[in-house]
């Protein structure tokens, strides 16, 4: 793959959205967009979907079953203790602990999944085409394996959408 990239920098969300709209119509693939805050149209333009809710449900399901099983095993089978003659298999009072610990399981497992999937973890080597994108710039990147005419067409489109800066840069393709 070619390492040549075209980078467009925008000052406003509207301009970025119009550029996204135009390049999508022209059928050019966007490599990545960097924004200072979540912009839903930009997220949709990349065409990725998150299955976080499904993952969270599965974590919760597994967590709830696991915790109930643990409570049952320890309190009923492993060492049943007589607390004032009350039943050892006190299912309703197990529910309280199960709910809270299920929530804890979902939270911790989801955070871990987020860290793995979004590749956000301590000591990560990161790459940003323009570091102002965490402050006030909207940055869009295209991988230029297309031909030169398409590249100039793209630059033209970005300029017409209101990009404040457009530059070309060589770097390793984004993973």
């Amino acid at each position: 793959m070619n390492n040549q990239h075209v980078i467009g920098v925008f000052n406003e969300e509207d301009e970025l959205l119009s550029a996204i709209h135009r390049v999508k119509e022209a059928g050019i693939k966007i490599a990545e967009i960097y924004t200072p805050y979540p912009v839903h149209e930009a997220i949709e333009a990349i065409g990725k979907k998150s299955r976080f809710t499904i993952a969270a449900f599965l974590f919760g399901f597994a967590g709830a079953i696991g915790i109930l099983a643990f409570l049952q095993y320890t309190a009923v089978y492993d060492w049943p203790i007589n607390y004032g003659g009350k039943p050892t298999n006190a299912f309703p009072s197990f529910i309280v602990v199960t709910i809270v610990l299920t929530i804890l399981t979902i939270t911790l497992a989801s955070l871990f999944t987020f860290s793995v999937r979004a590749k956000v973890y301590p000591g990560k080597e990161y790459f940003m085409p323009d570091t102002r994108s965490t402050d006030d710039k909207f940055v869009i990147i295209f991988n230029m394996d297309q031909n030169a005419t398409e590249s100039s067409l793209l630059i033209q489109m970005l300029r017409e959408s209101g990009a404040s800066e457009i530059f070309e840069k060589q770097f390793q393709p984004l993973t």
Partner: protein, 461 residues
Amino acid sequence: MYKTEVRGSLIHGNKNYHQISSDIIAPIDQPIPLWWKAAFGISMLAFLYGVIAIYVTISQGIGTWGVNNSVGWGWEIINFVWWIGIGHAGTAFSIFLLILRQKWRTSINRAAEAMTVVAVGCAALFPAIHMGRIWLAFFIFPYPNTRGPLWVNYNSPLFWDFIAISAYLLISASFWYFGMVPDFATIRDRTTSKVKKAVYGFFAFGWTGSTKEWLRYESLSYVLGGIAAVLVVSVHSIVSTDFAVSVIPGWHTTVFPPYFVVGAIFSGFAMVMTLMIIIRKVYKFQDYITDSHLNAIAKILVFISLIMGTAYATEIFIAWYSGSQYEFFTFFRNRITGDYTFEFWAMVICNAFIPQLFWFKRVRKSLVAAFTISIFINIGMWYERFNIIITSLTKDYLPSSWTTYEPTWVEIGFYIGTLGMFAAGVLLFFKYIPMIAISEVKGVLKATSHDSNDNKINRHE
């Protein structure tokens, strides 16, 4: 569908994105102001007093407290419940307003969450030390041990409490931290100082703000918001079961869980208001924490105050209507009249009457009035816990076991220590962490700005 356009612009002063970053990061970049050093010094002194009190407690035992056979729970449990209540607001604020898509939360949620984490930390100290022999505190974990293995009693509300508080602390802290990651990246990319770049860069976890990150970030925040909302309700319900499953008059009531949850949110919101007024005044954040933000909190407080009043009235009514002479005695002879009249009426006046002043627009607009009322609510909520714990325990079924309770200097010191710990924690937050969620505020800037909303505002007013 969920746009809150009727509120008008949330950020004043025609800011652009760059200004927002600069304004919010400014306190981190500026040198430490003198008042901060003074305040931090005082809170550390208070904290030191607490450390001494804790040292005395641990080295000599719970006997150094004023608790006795009848009043086994003194100031420690009052303060524990009080801090947990305050710690409720952060998550309540963030989470309920997040899932209700209330955009005005963005200026306040960070500070509220910070407050939660520190307050729950303060709260957790009390039961941990109250159990006695803190070096054996790990016995409460259900772990395979050499005593059988003897597992813990899952039917005990005290165990539920331990689970709930630990989970709440962990979840609030992770929710808070996770929200700060994009802001740490903003500081990392703006700063010229190498030390700051390294430190904030480490805590930013390599955040770049790409769509792949934002996509998952958004999904995760809704997932966490949705499940943690359950936790907000469950934690204080569980705290209330510490009382409600007993047979002590005044405690043995089914109204306790909702009553505790509402009370917790009440005291927490009051503390949020106290804190937001301080932040707004000291750091001149009036463009972010606008009058309409404080107005909204005041309206919530007046509403919750009505619920509190109803809860008090319900308790008193049922004490009479149930026909139980013990309940009747506790409420009519030991709270409304009797030895604890002052504490009871302090609670009612501070929680149910004084916040009613927020019905008046002039009171809601006045920072001094709002600040004063928020302090009154916090005092009132402390008295509420005092009433519940002390009045019920001093005079139960057997007159022969009636007794009085006075806190010793050790207990007072422990409380002052946590106040110092809280103040110090909040001051560190002021100085080293962006007090307002930068990326979230940027996200609502254009959506609620005057350009897009002027017409709608005019139509509504």
